[in-house]
């Protein structure tokens, strides 16, 4: 289909017009030959030949046209097929996108679920331990007030002055015997309701499994110049006015 060539339709039309011209000429010549002789002897044969030639051309062109029509029809059919395939592909693409979306959601939710499972597993404690601990903190009235508590009862949800002083920290240094935090030891004695002050081993201070060690802290807590270990001082100084670090305690 070069741009320079004429289309089949044009060729057909030009052949037809040629034939028209030639046949008109022929008819004129025939009409003329009735009355007068031909100026040129072989002209009518020439015209006839030309006519036949044009007719043959015309027939050929018609054949070509038919062929072209068939091909054009085939092309259209193929185009239709291609369109159908295209729409199929688009449908498939849409379905794939949907499936991808659903899968992505499912994967995300599964990941969240796994995360929460991991979290739960990490924090899992045997129910027996929880019950033991719950019993421990409630039996000692540490989280739930005793049912017969009235204002004036020295028991508290925190270690009282007395308990603090009877502990290891309290024994680390000599403490004055006056009450510091509003809870004079005399009150407790007077009320006649002593907590187990006199037992040497307080439940709140240590536990049976002494295998437990605190986390290691390699450095000072202070931003003071090195060599000044403030942490021990704070520990003990809080309890008394004497500052004696625990490492220098001699038992």
């Amino acid at each position: 289909m070069a741009a320079g060539e004429r289309s089949t339709k044009e060729k057909l039309l030009s052949a037809l017009s040629d034939m028209e011209v030639l046949s008109r000429e022929l008819i004129e010549m025939l009409a003329l030959s009735r009355t007068q002789k031909l100026p040129q002897p072989g002209e009518d044969t020439q015209v006839l030949e030309l006519l036949v030639q044009r007719d043959k051309e015309f027939q050929e062109l018609m054949q070509t046209a038919v062929e072209q029509g068939r091909i054009h029809q085939e092309m259209q059919q193929l185009e239709k097929e291609a369109e159908k395939r295209d729409s199929d592909i688009q449908l498939l693409q849409k379905q794939l996108k949907e499936a991808e979306h659903i899968l992505a959601t499912a994967v995300y939710q599964a990941k969240e679920k796994l995360k929460s499972i991991e979290k739960a597993r990490k924090g899992s404690i045997s129910s027996e331990e929880i019950i033991k601990y719950a019993h421990r903190i409630s039996a000692s009235n540490a989280v739930c007030a005793p049912l017969n508590w009235v204002p004036g009862d020295p028991r508290r949800p925190y270690p009282t002055d007395l308990e603090m002083r009877s502990g290891m920290l309290g024994h680390m240094s000599n403490l004055p015997t006056n009450g510091v935090n509003g809870h004079l030891p005399g009150d407790a004695l007077a009320a006649g309701r002593l907590p187990d002050v006199l037992t040497p081993q307080y439940p709140w201070q240590s536990d049976v499994s002494m295998g437990m060690l605190p986390p290691h802290h390699g450095n000072d807590f202070g931003l003071e110049p090195p060599g000044h270990n403030k942490e021990n001082e704070d520990d003990v100084e809080a309890m008394s006015t004497d500052s004696s670090s625990s490492s220098s305690d001699s038992d």
Binding site: I137, Q205, L213
Partner: protein, 136 residues
């Protein structure tokens, strides 16, 4: 580099003293005591309080007899709270609220018992009332 190497004995003692100390933080009067003497303003002490947060882990928390201390410890991480603790009224308020909260479960239990007792009383009152129409 003080305190890097300690014997097991020292570590055990440190465990016990830290256990005692962290539980003392449950006592609002003690907190007031610390605040008034300026300990809560010292940076090393504040760092120490942050270090003590390890008691929140379950393997350490199970040794605590007074769990209120953990809440106090969390609050103590905030400077505003530490500043406020200098006031005696603040400490008193916390003390009162703490004791009221402490009594929450026993109050709830007495309320439940009262409700149950009332219910039983009502049932007993209704029972003789039902008996009367039958006798007629």
């Amino acid at each position: 580099m003080a305190g890097v190497l300690e014997t097991e004995e020292q570590a055990r003692n440190r465990f016990q003293s830290e256990l005692e100390f962290v539980q003392c933080l449950a006592n609002p009067n003690y907190l007031n005591f610390l605040a008034q003497r300026g300990y809560l303003r010292e940076k090393p002490f504040v760092n120490y309080l942050k270090y003590l947060l390890y008691w929140k882990e379950p393997e350490y928390a199970k040794f605590l007899k007074y769990p209120h201390c953990l809440h106090m410890l969390e609050l103590l991480q905030y400077e505003h709270f530490r500043k406020e603790l200098v006031n005696a009224q603040c400490a008193k308020f916390i003390d009162e609220q703490q004791i009221l909260h402490w009594q929450h479960y026993s109050r709830k239990r007495t309320r439940l018992q009262q409700a149950l007792a009332e219910q039983q009383q009502q049932q007993q009152q209704q029972a003789p009332a039902h008996g009367n129409p039958a006798s007629k």
